[in-house]
C-alpha cells in the first residue's frame, strides 16, 4: 500500500555485487518510507551499505531486487536524468569541475538567473564575491558548500548527503550541520544524510535508520534509535559506539 505522505519509498530492495568470485549482498531487503519535508540520518558501522543505499536512491546503481517509488511511482518509469535532478546526491568527497564557482553552479542549470545564484550562495553561506573564484583556491569545507549549492541549483525535492562532514574539522562540521538544518527549515526539502557518527545524528535530529550488514535493524526518532535501541543488533551497535 502506498503511503500518502511518502515522497520516497523503498520496497524490499536488495543489491548484490560481485566481489571476486563471491557475490556479496550490500543492501538486504531494505524497506522504508521517507516522508516529505523530514530529515533522516542513516547510521551504522562502516561497510553497512550506507553509501550503497544512497546510490540506489539516486539510481546511480540498480537494485537487484525490489522497487523504489518516488511520489508513489516506480522510479523505473521516470527518466533517470530527471529523477537525479529531483533526488539530488552529494558525494562524500564532492567533485567540482576545475573552473569557477559560478561555472559549477551553471553546470547544474545553464539558465540559472542571477537572483537564484545569489539566493543559493546565501543559502550555503558562501560570499557572493567568491562567485568568480577558481574552485582550486577553496578549502575542503568551502568546496563542500559550493557542491551543495550546485546540488540545490537543480531544485531537488530530496537531497541525499553522503557523510558531508567526514573530511572536515570540528568547526566546519558544526557549520555544515547548522546549514543542513537551516535548509530543511527554510524549504520543504527532504534530507537523507549518511553519517558514521551517532552524535552527529543526534545533533541533526529527525529520524534515524540504523543499517547493519545492509539490513535495516532499527528506525525511528533519533534519540530512541541511538540511546534506547529496541533490538539486539541496535544494542550491539550502541555498545560498540560506547567503547
Amino acid at each position: 500500500m502506498p503511503s500518502d505522505d511518502a515522497i520516497l519509498e523503498t520496497r524490499r530492495i536488495s543489491r548484490a555485487v560481485q566481489d571476486g568470485s563471491q557475490t556479496k549482498t550490500v543492501i538486504d531487503h531494505f524497506s522504508f518510507s521517507f516522508k516529505k519535508g523530514n530529515i533522516y540520518t542513516i547510521i551504522g558501522p562502516s561497510g553497512a551499505g550506507k553509501s550503497s543505499l544512497l546510490r540506489l536512491l539516486n539510481r546511480l546503481d540498480e537494485p537487484t531486487e525490489g522497487d523504489i517509488l518516488f511520489h508513489n511511482q516506480n522510479i523505473k518509469e521516470h527518466s533517470p536524468c530527471r529523477l537525479r535532478r529531483e533526488i539530488g546526491y552529494l558525494f562524500q568527497t564532492p567533485y567540482l569541475f576545475p573552473k569557477t564557482v559560478k561555472d559549477n553552479l551553471l553546470y547544474a542549470d545553464s539558465k540559472l538567473p542571477a537572483d537564484v545564484i545569489q539566493r543559493l550562495t546565501e543559502q550555503v553561506q558562501v560570499p557572493l564575491s567568491w562567485i568568480d573564484r577558481a574552485v582550486d583556491t577553496l578549502s575542503i569545507g568551502e568546496r563542500q558548500r559550493v557542491a551543495l549549492a550546485r546540488l540545490l541549483a537543480t531544485n531537488p525535492e530530496v537531497v541525499l548527503l553522503d557523510e558531508p562532514t567526514s573530511a572536515l574539522d570540528p568547526s566546519y562540521t558544526e557549520s555544515i550541520e547548522n546549514l543542513v538544518r537551516s535548509i530543511v527549515q527554510q524549504t520543504s526539502l527532504t534530507v537523507i544524510m549518511v553519517t558514521h557518527n551517532p552524535e552527529q545524528a543526534l545533533r541533526i535530529g529527525g529520524e534515524t535508520i540504523l543499517l547493519v550488514a545492509g539490513r535495516l535493524v532499527e528506525s525511528g526518532p533519533c534519540e530512541r534509535v541511538i540511546n534506547n535501541p529496541q533490538t539486539e543488533a541496535g544494542h550491539l551497535y550502541k555498545m560498540r559506539q560506547l567503547k
Partner: protein
C-alpha cells in the same frame, strides 16, 4: 629504374651482421632477436611478394576484397591485443577499422582518384589499415583509462542529471584526438623532417619527384580520412560499453 638482384639482397646481409656485431660488442642481448627478425622479415616479404604477384595477375575483385578483409582481421586482432586497459575489444576494433578503411577506399574509387586495380588498391589498403590499427588501439586505450581515472567526475555529472553522453563528452573528444594525433603530426612535418615511405619508394623505383609528391599528398589525405573515421567509430562503440541504458557508469 632500380631493380635489385638476389646477389644484392644477400650482400645487404652485411648490414645485419654489422648490427649483430655492434650489439654483441655492447652486450645488448638482442643478437638472437636480430637474426630471427631478419630471417622473418625476409620470409614474410618474399611470401607477400608472391601473394601480391598472384593477386595482381588474377585481377579478381573477390580476391582483392578477400585480401583486404584478411588485412583488416589481422590488424583488428593486433589492435585489440594492444589495448591493455580492458579486454574483448576485437569487435570494436574490427568494426571501426572496416568502416574507416572501406569508406576511405570507396570514396577514392568513386571519385576516380585511383583505378579499381589490385596494384593500386592493395598497397593503399595496407597503408590505410596499419594506420587505422594504431589509431583505434590508441583511442580505445585512452578512453578506457580516462573513464576509469575520472569516475567521480563522470558520476558527479550523472548525479546532476546529465546524460552519459554529456558526462563522457570531453573524454570521448580527447580519445578521438589521441587516435588522430600521429597523422596530424605527420602532416605537420612531412617533407620537412622526413620523406615518407610511399614517396621514397616511388623515387627509388625511378619516378619523377613531382609525380611522387602528388601521390604522397593523396596518401596523406587518405590516411587522414581513414584515421579520423576509425577513431570516431572506435570511441563511439567503446564509450557505450561503460554505461547502462539508464545512464549509470558500469565497472568494466
Amino acid at each position: 629504374m632500380m631493380s635489385p638482384s638476389i646477389t644484392q639482397v644477400l650482400l645487404s646481409l652485411a648490414l645485419v651482421a654489422i648490427s649483430i656485431g655492434v650489439s654483441r660488442w655492447w652486450r645488448i642481448p638482442v643478437a638472437k632477436d636480430m637474426a630471427l627478425g631478419s630471417v622473418r622479415a625476409f620470409i614474410q616479404l618474399v611470401a607477400v611478394g608472391y601473394a601480391l604477384k598472384f593477386i595482381f595477375d588474377l585481377e579478381s575483385l573477390w580476391l582483392i576484397s578477400l585480401a583486404i578483409l584478411v588485412m583488416i582481421l589481422v590488424g583488428a586482432q593486433a589492435a585489440s591485443g594492444r589495448v591493455k586497459s580492458f579486454k574483448g575489444v576485437f569487435p570494436v576494433t574490427f568494426t571501426a577499422m572496416i568502416i574507416g578503411s572501406l569508406f576511405t577506399l570507396a570514396t577514392m574509387l568513386a571519385l576516380d582518384i585511383i583505378p579499381l586495380e589490385a596494384r593500386y588498391v592493395i598497397p593503399l589498403a595496407g597503408m590505410i589499415i596499419s594506420n587505422s590499427m594504431n589509431a583505434s588501439a590508441l583511442a580505445i586505450d585512452r578512453l578506457a583509462s580516462d573513464i576509469r581515472n575520472n569516475e567521480l567526475a563522470i558520476e558527479t555529472s550523472l548525479s546532476l542529471g546529465k546524460s552519459w553522453r554529456i558526462a563522457a563528452g570531453n573524454f570521448q573528444r580527447d580519445a578521438a584526438t589521441t587516435g588522430m594525433i600521429s597523422i596530424l603530426n605527420f602532416m605537420k612535418t612531412v617533407g620537412i623532417v622526413a620523406l615518407p615511405g610511399a614517396m621514397t619508394g616511388m623515387i627509388l623505383a625511378g619516378a619523377e619527384p613531382l609525380e611522387a609528391v602528388l601521390l604522397q599528398i593523396i596518401v596523406a589525405y587518405m590516411l587522414l580520412s581513414s584515421v579520423t573515421i576509425t577513431s570516431v567509430v572506435a570511441v563511439e562503440l567503446t564509450v557505450r560499453k561503460f554505461f547502462t541504458p539508464f545512464h549509470q557508469l558500469k565497472k568494466v
